[in-house]
Amino acid sequence: MLNYLIRRVLWMIPMLIGISLISFFIMHLAPGDITSTEAAFDPKSSEESRQKLRALYHLDKPIIVQYGLWLERIAHLDFGHSFASHQKPVFWQETDKDGNTTAGMIQEALPVTLTMNVIGLLLTLTLAVPLGVIAAKRYGHWQDRSITLFNFIGFSIPGFWLSLLLMYWLGVIHPWFPISGLHSLNYAQLDTWQRFQDLLMHLFLPVVIPAITGLAGVTMFVKNGMLDVLSQDFVTTARAKGLSDCTVTYRHALRNALLPLITLVGLSLPGLIGGSVIAETIFAIPGMGKLFYEAVMMRDFPVVMGILTIGSALTLMGNLLADLAYAWADPRLRRGVMPQR
């Protein structure tokens, strides 16, 4: 097991280099760079200034040299500075000689996105598992049909449409929740408890809406998993042994039905880190999705590469954790099937 773990962790290093190499080259395949953004198409700006800027950021060098320079920096865990956003540090805060700190862009955006998405995922799972189980248990009955109908609606409603609808109902007509942003304007004046409440109120709509739209998929996943398991021999055996319905469903069947869900959660990790462009734009939340989108549009290469690298590393770790969780949940893997994978 330990050997396997070490091998997996070591294997992540060439994987990360490979991912970064591909990302770097694909990113540079897109036409243009930071000097060809809309602001640069101003007759008052000159071509000489743009050339100077290109030289400053080494954009005038061959791509392979640029990649080498990037790799050299990354080896020291230096993710560089943004081209676009006044050379803010990409990853972590920096302190200048006067003692003023400038926060890193990912450092600012990642906690926001992670908090939102983790709460959203927990909410989705908390609702989806019971709903999926009910739908499977009451297969063909009105409960199943209602849940299926709900799933259809969840699948087909575009997230941004639902967002605007709820923003209008719950923010304008009945002003219960803030419409956009993450903090109230008087946030600095609030005490700790009020700040917590303020944050929760602001997070309500951006968390609940993706959770509702994501609920449909997971519910169907759990339902189908349960249906599969419920028709298997060991469930019939368990029932034949006279175990109660509750024990059969929740102790024997559900545990097996949830195994694939671990993979699903593992696979959803990049989404948890990457954030959602549309939700973050609509709700004006300074998260990773918006940061990544803006960086791509601005051709802000250090930020794009920073997000991709950190995202890839976290994804690989997520996959590893998912595998470990799988091993924990499935005794067969613990008993030695896993090292042969």
Binding site: A84, L164, I173, H174, A284
Partner: protein, 547 residues
């Protein structure tokens, strides 16, 4: 983004059928005089500024916030004539090569330190420094020598007269030497924690969320009325509008649908908001690649100009909120030649001109051809600008009616610029230009400005225009300059190197609690004297007052 269209439609539908906002009440906002001080004004802007040093950041959000914090030597007055801001007076030497600025006395920064000509000199040195990467350095690099002989005097020397210089000194935001000396302008924390001299100073900046500006009691132009300005960063226009409806923001820039359809149909919103319309500082055009056939033939260019119904575009795309123009200058300003009128919509004349150029529909397929080749071209425009895309579609239909076959291609901005505009690989483009306040358009029209990355990418070459542009740069007398640029606009008009399509209006909604706004809107824009705006005490937001 495509969802933007759906969002605007949805927003319209929501608003059209929804109930009145819970927060809107029937409060009427009586005009209260005299002006009062205090209160908070909350506005929305679509993107976070990257820095407070506009000259280095270069993007509009930074320049806009910087304009609240820093002063320039000169400014444009409400009629868009140059006036002094930090400068009390300025004098152009007889040979037009030296400008001497006399600063006002008693100027100071928000921290109480004196603001002197040393600061102006320092700012100029900073912008032109080899290590500084400012996109706007070129105008200031023409200064051969700058000096500050005493605290009140700033002198710049040019090797030859450069009339747009005055405009450049109205754009340069003066920075404090005592805060920035010895710092790297690109990494300094000053960009996040600035110190200015203007009406406001930055109090709090929550990145990606909002900026809070507080009144600067030491403002060199006297204090503003409103105590606090908040700029909330809300990228989505639909979310901005919902915030406006919920009374969480006081002002926003609108699109034509919101201005012309949604607000007028809602009495509650009308009772709450004032709407302002001002001619914007940009125009949309159909530009031809003049190095390609058949656009090297003026008859073809004119035929296309006559074949396009500009009013139809203004009505269809901008809901009537725009005007047709005949020169690249803002109508109503002295630089706009009043004798020129936009090319009328005249398909018969267009067909006649096409026939004169040898194009006729000989095979009856509806398209004109010459030497067996159909008159056909591709129009490029940038993705995400729905107004330009719709404009291209309307042009396509009108050109088809006179027998010209066109294809539309929308491209992501950087791709359009890098792959097509820079190498000159295009037939025609639907794009826009800003209407500068200085009439000099050398960079766009002079034949020397055609290299990749320069702005005369349509390849316009006209010795008369070249000469006029060169002359205009040397002439400081506004009256003589006006004659030069009127003539320049006339030559362009006759040559029709591009089709001026429309100049749109800037549309702003401001809550009625904000009073003291100039009405009618002066040529310099609705925000021209926003320091005089005030919010009477009974109309202020309770939660903000409590702060």
């Amino acid at each position: 983004m495509t969802h933007r269209v759906i969002i605007s439609l949805l927003c319209g539908a929501l608003v059209a059928c929804g109930a009145d906002s819970g927060r809107q009440n029937n409060q009427t906002f009586a005009h209260i005089t005299p002006a009062q001080t205090g209160g908070t004004l909350i506005s929305a802007m679509p993107s976070d500024p990257s820095s407070m040093i506009g000259m280095v950041a270069g993007e509009s959000a930074s320049l806009a916030i910087g304009a609240y914090l820093f002063n320039s030597l000169l400014k444009y007055n409400q009629n868009l004539d140059l006036a002094g801001e930090l400068a009390e007076s300025w004098q152009v030497a007889a040979d037009n090569k030296t400008i001497t600025f006399k600063l006002k006395s008693g100027l100071q920064w928000a921290d109480g330190k004196p603001l002197t000509s040393e600061d102006v000199l320092f700012t100029w040195q900073l912008v032109t420094d080899e290590k500084t990467h400012s996109p706007y350095a070129s105008d200031y690099q023409l200064v051969t020598k700058a000096e500050a002989p005493d605290a009140q005097t700033f002198i710049v020397h040019y090797s030859q007269p450069f009339a747009p210089a005055l405009e450049s000194w109205a754009s340069l935001q003066v920075l404090p030497k005592h805060k920035l000396a010895g710092q790297d302008i690109h990494t300094t924390s000053f960009a996040q924690k600035p110190l200015g001299s203007h009406y406001y100073q930055l109090k709090e900046w929550r990145h990606g969320e909002y900026l809070k500006l507080e009144k600067n009691p030491k403002s060199v132009l006297g204090p503003a009325n409103i105590d606090t300005l908040v700029e909330r960063i809300i990228p989505d226009p639909a979310a901005q509008f919902l915030e406006l409806m919920a009374d969480n923001i006081d002002s926003m820039n609108m699109d034509p649908i919101t201005y012309a359809r949604i607000i007028p149909s809602r009495p509650a919103l009308q009772a709450q908001l004032n709407q302002y319309k001002e001619l914007g500082n940009s125009y949309t055009y159909l530009g031809f690649n003049l190095k390609r056939k058949p656009f090297d033939d003026v008859r073809i260019r004119k035929a296309i100009n006559y074949a396009i119904d500009k009013q139809e575009i203004i009505d269809g795309v901008y809901l009537g909120l725009g005007i047709a123009i005949a020169s690249p200058y803002k109508p109503g300003t002295r630089w706009s030649n009043p004798q020129l009128t936009p090319y009328p919509f005249d398909p018969a004349k267009a067909k006649q001109l096409l026939a004169e150029a040898g194009y006729q529909d000989s095979d009856g397929d509806g398209y004109v051809e010459r030497d067996g080749k159909t008159l056909s071209f591709e129009m490029l425009t940038n993705l995400g600008n729905k107004q330009r895309e719709k404009t291209a579609v309307i042009i396509q239909r009108r050109l088809k009616e006179v027998g010209i076959d066109t294809r539309i291609r929308t491209l992501e901005w950087a791709s359009l610029l890098t792959n097509f505009i820079k190498p000159g690989d295009f037939d025609a483009v639907v794009m826009g230009w800003g209407l500068g306040l200085d009439p000099d358009q050398y960079n766009i029209w002079h034949s020397s400005q055609q290299n990749p990355g320069q702005f005369n990418f349509i390849g316009y070459h006209n010795p008369v225009v070249d000469q006029l542009l060169e002359q205009g740069r040397l002439e400081f007398d506004p009256e003589k300059r006006m004659d030069i640029y009127h003539e320049f606009a006339k030559v362009l008009y006759e040559d029709s190197p591009l089709v001026y399509l429309s100049a749109g209006y800037g549309l702003t909604a401001i809550h009625k609690r904000v009073q003291g706004i100039m009405n009618p809107v002066p040529p310099a824009g609705v925000g021209y004297d926003s320091q005089k705006w005030f919010i009477p005490e009974p109309y202020r937001r309770p939660q903000i007052q409590a702060e």
